[in-house]
């Protein structure tokens, strides 16, 4: 499950679009004829997956932004799940 290395650079998958929807007060992932409404943690993680930052960078940024520590396990697990669901893909 959590076999995504810290150097991986996740990005929102090709053909998917992530955007903030004020009417739903949530980030949503849009894809052909479908939509996933994300909870606030999922939105915070996915909105940082730009294909440039590494997983380690993303964890550091989240810990700083939310004044938390020890997020590596949770964030890595979510990124692994999102890869499995084809919401994310890894960039070189």
């Amino acid at each position: 499950m959590s076999d995504v290395p810290g150097t991986a650079k996740p990005a929102v998958a090709h053909g998917m679009r992530l955007q903030w929807e004020p009417a739903q007060e949530a980030h949503v992932l849009l894809y052909p004829e479908g939509m996933v409404r994300l909870n606030s943690s999922a939105g915070a993680i996915l909105s940082r997956c730009d294909g440039v930052r590494t997983l380690t960078d993303i964890v550091t940024d989240l810990e700083r932004t939310y004044s938390l520590t020890g997020l590596t396990g949770d964030v890595t697990a979510f990124v692994a799940l999102a890869l499995e669901k084809h919401w994310l893909e890894l960039r070189e």
Partner: protein, 407 residues
């Protein structure tokens, strides 16, 4: 793309995914998350399974570009985000590009639902530049003969070319094939064709019986044996292409014992606008008697969605009759499809007779039994005399408001 397509065979964004629960939480209705613009009833095809109302030729003139853009702006302000552009054939509108550009600027995810007729390289380039997100291409069958017969035109090669353009312009390749008695035995060949075209998603949508498909139901409903063979073939193919292709098989609901949660409940997430501006709580709602459907020429989208009697008519549970009213499943299926209830029982407030708790369920099982007999008696035969092709001249002759002349 979990869910059902909004393709030419109808099926709807039924819960276009995860939207339904959020949208149906108690109290005020949520926003119309799914907006479908049926830009025109014009279509170069004449499909026997089209869900468009059979009297489409008797409706008013098409909205103009500015009207459509006003609808887009007003619906987006309420929270609409998934946009379907359909018809008829939406490519028949020469203002499709400016409509797409405006929708993109507003932040919609834009799905073009098309037969591909009218698509050229120049047009797909302009649509891409305007911000179109996705193209769903419909195919009638894997063979040229049946594709052309079922749509009463010669289009197979043209569609194959469009499939190539879709890949070339880096769109996800989404193929929609409407299944019925005359092509369901070809499902293996259909899937091989889809694979050869590089399809990533294939929607095998069994015909649902509204509009022209309702007129032709006795010839289109497959037998249970056909259906089971097709599902087994699909499952074997699915295992072979796991990871490369996603295949959705939408079972015809006549073979179910519980109804579909149609539109996640009317007035819940779906807002359709017909070519003449009529606002629809489901694709087929125009057939429902007594429903005074508002028009975007007269009212704004906020008023239509939240305040109009038509959109409030089937919200909540107060309209339900027994057996729905006291049924624990009413919160899951909302009583099923109102149009199917009306077509088969004459009363839109009844339970969808697909449900085996409905006292009218025998009307569904009898139709299936007749399909069994017909399939056994004349497989694929005698169809040319019997089928009614979607056609402007025939449509003009249909008595308005009388979609239920047959079966």
């Amino acid at each position: 793309m979990s869910g059902t397509p909004v393709g030419h065979g109808l099926a709807a964004p039924n819960a276009a995914l995860g939207m339904s629960q959020a949208a149906r939480s108690a109290g005020a209705p949520g926003p119309p998350l799914w907006l479908l613009l049926e830009l025109t009833y014009r279509c170069p095809l004449h499909c026997v399974f089209c869900y468009n109302q059979t009297d489409f030729a008797n409706t008013g003139p098409e909205l103009g570009t500015e009207d459509w853009i006003r609808v887009l702006r007003q619906a987006r302000a309420l929270g609409a985000v998934q946009l379907g552009l359909s018809g008829g054939e939406p490519l028949a509108r020469d203002d499709l590009e400016p409509i797409v550009a405006q929708a993109h600027a507003l932040g919609y995810y834009i799905n073009l639902i098309t037969s591909g007729i009218g698509m050229t390289e120049a047009r797909i380039g302009s649509l891409k530049a305007a911000g179109l997100d996705h193209i769903q291409l419909s195919f009638q069958d894997s063979t040229r003969e049946l594709n052309d017969f079922l749509s009463s035109t010669r289009t197979f090669e043209l569609k194959s070319k469009v499939a190539g353009l879709i890949r070339q312009y880096d769109y996800p390749m989404v193929l929609n094939v409407v299944l019925h008695r005359l092509n369901i035995d070809h499902v293996g060949e259909i899937l091989e064709m889809a694979e050869a075209m590089g399809a990533q998603y294939v929607e095998l949508a069994n015909t649902q019986y509204y509009g022209w498909a309702w007129l032709n139901r006795e010839h289109l409903l497959p037998s249970r044996a056909q259906l089971e063979r097709a599902e087994a073939t699909t499952q074997r193919f699915r295992e072979r292409v796991a990871g490369r292709m996603q295949i959705y098989f939408v079972v015809p609901d006549y073979f179910e014992t519980r109804p579909k949660a149609c539109m996640s409940g009317l007035g819940s997430v779906f807002l359709g606008i017909a070519p003449d501006g009529t606002a629809l709580p489901c694709h087929a709602a125009r057939m429902l008697p007594g429903l005074q459907l508002p028009n975007v020429r007269d009212s704004d989208i906020r008023t239509i969605w939240y305040d109009s009697p038509a959109f409030n008519r089937f919200r909540g549970e107060a309209w339900m009759k027994e057996p729905c009213r006291s049924c624990p499943e009413r919160t899951k299926d909302f009583g099923g499809c109102r149009c199917q209830a009306y077509l088969l029982t004459g009363d839109a407030d009844n339970a969808d007779p697909v449900c085996d708790l409905s006292p009218h369920h025998h009307k569904v099982t009898e139709a299936v039994a007749r399909a069994e007999q017909a399939a056994a008696a004349a497989p694929g035969g005698a169809r040319e005399q019997a089928l009614v092709f979607r056609d402007h001249r025939i449509s003009i002759a249909v008595v308005p408001g009388d979609p239920a002349r047959r079966p």
